[in-house]
């Protein structure tokens, strides 16, 4: 058996490195840092079709992530998809005529909400509503339309 | 058969004890008494459950019938905490020594003190050295158990058994597999510890010569029953042929040299068959 104090040191080292490992996984590997630290406010947009959008999908403006989707619900009156987005508080100058569209990252990548700021002087407040939206492009639909069109042109 | 001695001076008394393992009856209504301050030996052939008896006395096994009383307390009626308190007053020397292999000799002897007392390290050191001195192995305190010979391990285990100054010590086959010198040392040690510390000793053994040299009283057990009991000299003069064979170690007698088999000549002649 080793000397007691050496053993203590080694056990201490082991426990410390294990905890460092856990912290590394929490902070460097996963998104813990992104959703714990930041304050945010909510804006709401209704889409005809939100496609493959999911809770926690990114919300970005000009290619920069400024928030994430916090809830997606179906509105039984308007038959639309209501998407709530948490926008980080530091981006509190979004004009209230901003438009939202659902895009796909790359050809097969995941879907995200892209916000296109308009020219209004009024900014969104908490639970502000986006008026102009563009739905997700459903690949099957697009292909269908394309085939239909080219068939018509051939006639 | 009732062979209870019922001495008023007995520290441990076993009454009408029965115990079996599987279908084999190891003890069949046996009664024994162990007197205070004396060395009492239990002898018998291998496999008669001598070690089992020690485990029954120590409360590690529970008898089917009968009772075992140690210092006025029925061992198997005690609650767990009471049994543990009683065990602190019993020492047991296992055949292998049962030293804890991951501790030095010193720590092994200090183990019961550290577990059961709140003495300071310096007091523990003094006590451990005294116990080691008593078994003549004070110089071996820094060795690990795997560096000890069998005889030394048993002496260290003895030092550990007396660490808490018990009232009695149970010895499980203390003489088995020892060279003559260690054997002499152990015999001497058991006798002198018993006398100087006023212990009650119970020795389980089949080593006739060493045991009868130090025992005050002997019980001979075979096939679950007590065959004979008395002082060593009484036993040696016993009229029973079986006792004579056991004590002298004759190859043939009531216990036959040959395992039961059919006639030798017939067996050899019936060639061709396997059985």
């Amino acid at each position: 058996m080793q000397h007691t104090s050496t053993q203590d040191t080694l056990v201490g080292l082991f426990v410390a490195s294990g905890i460092v490992g856990l912290f590394f996984l929490a902070l460097q590997v996963s998104n813990l840092s992104s959703f714990v630290e930041q304050d945010s406010y909510t804006i709401i947009a209704s889409f005809e079709n939100s496609g493959g959008l999911k809770v926690k999908s990114p919300v970005s403006a000009a290619g920069v992530k400024i928030g994430q989707v916090s809830a997606i619900n179906f509105d039984p009156k308007t038959y639309q998809s209501v998407v709530k987005m948490s926008i980080y508080s530091q981006y509190n100058t979004l004009p209230d005529d901003t438009t939202a569209s659902i895009f796909t990252a790359g050809l097969l990548g995941e879907q995200y909400v892209n916000l296109d700021p308009g020219g209004s002087d009024e900014y969104f407040k908490n639970n502000g509503k986006i008026e102009i939206t563009q739905s997700a492009i459903i690949l099957e639909k697009a292909i269908g339309q394309f085939l239909f069109k080219s068939a018509e042109e051939k006639k | 058969m009732d062979n209870s001695v019922n001495s008023p001076n007995s520290l441990v008394s076993v009454r009408n004890l029965s115990f079996s393992r599987g279908n084999k009856k190891i003890f069949n209504n046996i009664s024994l008494d162990f007197e205070r301050g004396k060395i009492t030996a239990i002898m018998g052939p291998s496999g008669t459950g001598k070690t089992t008896l020690l485990k029954l006395i120590g409360g590690q096994l529970i008898p089917e019938q009968g009772s075992i009383t140690v210092d006025g307390q029925n061992v198997h009626k005690l609650r767990r905490a009471e049994l543990y308190t009683l065990r602190k007053r019993m020492g047991m020397l296992f055949q292998s020594g049962a030293l804890l292999t991951d501790m030095s000799v010193f720590d092994n002897v200090a183990f019961p003190l550290r577990e059961h007392t709140s003495l300071t390290e310096s007091m523990i050191r003094t006590l451990v050295l005294m116990k080691l001195q008593a078994v003549g192995l004070r110089g071996a305190r820094n060795l690990m158990p795997n560096e000890l010979s069998g005889g030394m391990a048993r002496r260290i285990a003895l030092a550990r058994a007396i660490a808490l100054d018990p009232m009695m010590i149970l010895y499980d086959e203390p003489f088995t597999g020892q060279d003559p010198i260690s054997l002499g040392a152990l015999v001497h040690l058991i006798k002198s510890l018993n006398n100087t510390l006023g212990l009650t000793s119970i020795i389980v053994s089949h080593d006739v010569r060493e045991t009868s040299a130090i025992a005050d009283y002997i019980y001979l057990i075979s096939e679950g029953r007590c065959v004979d009991h008395g002082t060593p000299s009484q036993i040696q003069k016993s009229a029973s042929e079986w006792v004579q064979q056991f004590m002298t170690g004759a190859a043939d007698g009531p216990v036959h040299f040959h395992y039961p088999a059919k006639d030798y000549a017939d067996d050899l002649l019936s060639s061709g068959k396997r059985y």
């Binding site: 426990v15 590997v29 996963s30 998104n31 | 590690q60």
Partner: protein
């Protein structure tokens, strides 16, 4: 046919009694936790022989597993032009599966078998019995500290395995194959969720640590006290631990990752 049924019945009966003994043993072990926490030295000693001595094998294996994941992942992902997601693949497979599972399997082989052999030998050499006769409860004194140490060490070892593996994937992917460093880490961070991935991985490793240590200690404590009995018990520890780890992993995965 009758014989087969009889054999099956007997196996079931023996299995159940063993499970009963094991459960009883576990309850006794758990009941000793308070007394061990009052004597942290016992725990530290076992953290050393269970955790620290498994450290090296876990680190080295984690590094190589991560490096292999980096290589294999790169070859497959580059076919789809998706090399940037290498970080996601390496980290997700490590954190969700390979970290907890492989480190638990290694733990069973390294620490579990050693525990069984140690306890079994203590039984065979009458050390446990001797302790009982010294009025020391061997479960509280010997078993519980080891159980706690196993329970605490396993999640730490699994976290180390995953961490080192992710760094190994980084070394191969970025250093050797030229994946973009920013993409490797940012995609990983975007895709892996703290709750769903990291916490679930840690829960898995705690469950595996619990089961493996329990099996190892019980097999040792229940071993036939001969050298053959102990060696058989050691084999059973490794085999039963592996089965339990993989079976439980399937169940836990189904429960945890079922809805996405």
């Amino acid at each position: 046919m009758i014989e087969l049924l009889q054999y099956l019945g007997k196996t079931t009966r023996v299995g159940f009694t063993k499970l009963g003994r094991g459960t009883y043993f576990l309850l006794q072990t758990i009941s000793g936790i308070a007394s061990v926490l009052l004597r942290p030295r016992l725990l530290i000693n076992q953290m050393y022989s269970i955790g620290v001595l498994s450290f090296l094998i876990i680190i080295i294996s984690g590094l190589f597993v991560g490096m292999v994941l980096g290589l294999q992942g790169y070859y497959i992902l580059s076919d789809f032009g998706a090399e940037e997601t290498l970080g996601v693949m390496v980290a997700a497979s490590l954190v969700r599966e390979l970290g907890p599972v492989v480190s638990a399997l290694l733990f069973a082989g390294r620490a579990g078998s050693a525990l069984t052999a140690e306890i079994g030998l203590m039984k065979a050499t009458e050390q446990l019995s001797g302790m009982e006769m010294m009025a020391v409860d061997p479960i509280k004194r010997i078993i519980t500290p080891r159980f706690l140490a196993g329970l605490l060490s396993m999640p730490l070892l699994a976290a180390l395995f995953s961490t080192v593996g992710i760094l190994g994937g980084d070394m191969v992917g970025i250093g050797l194959l030229g994946v973009d460093e920013g993409a490797y880490w940012s995609q990983m961070q975007a895709k892996l969720d703290f709750q769903d991935d990291i916490i679930n991985g840690v829960i898995k490793s705690i469950v595996f640590g619990f089961v493996t240590t329990w099996i190892a200690l019980f097999e040792g404590y229940d071993a036939i006290p001969t050298s053959e009995g102990v060696s058989r018990a050691t084999t059973r520890t490794v085999v039963n631990s592996a089965f339990s780890i993989l079976g439980l992993d399937f169940i836990l995965t189904a429960l945890m990752f079922g809805d996405n």
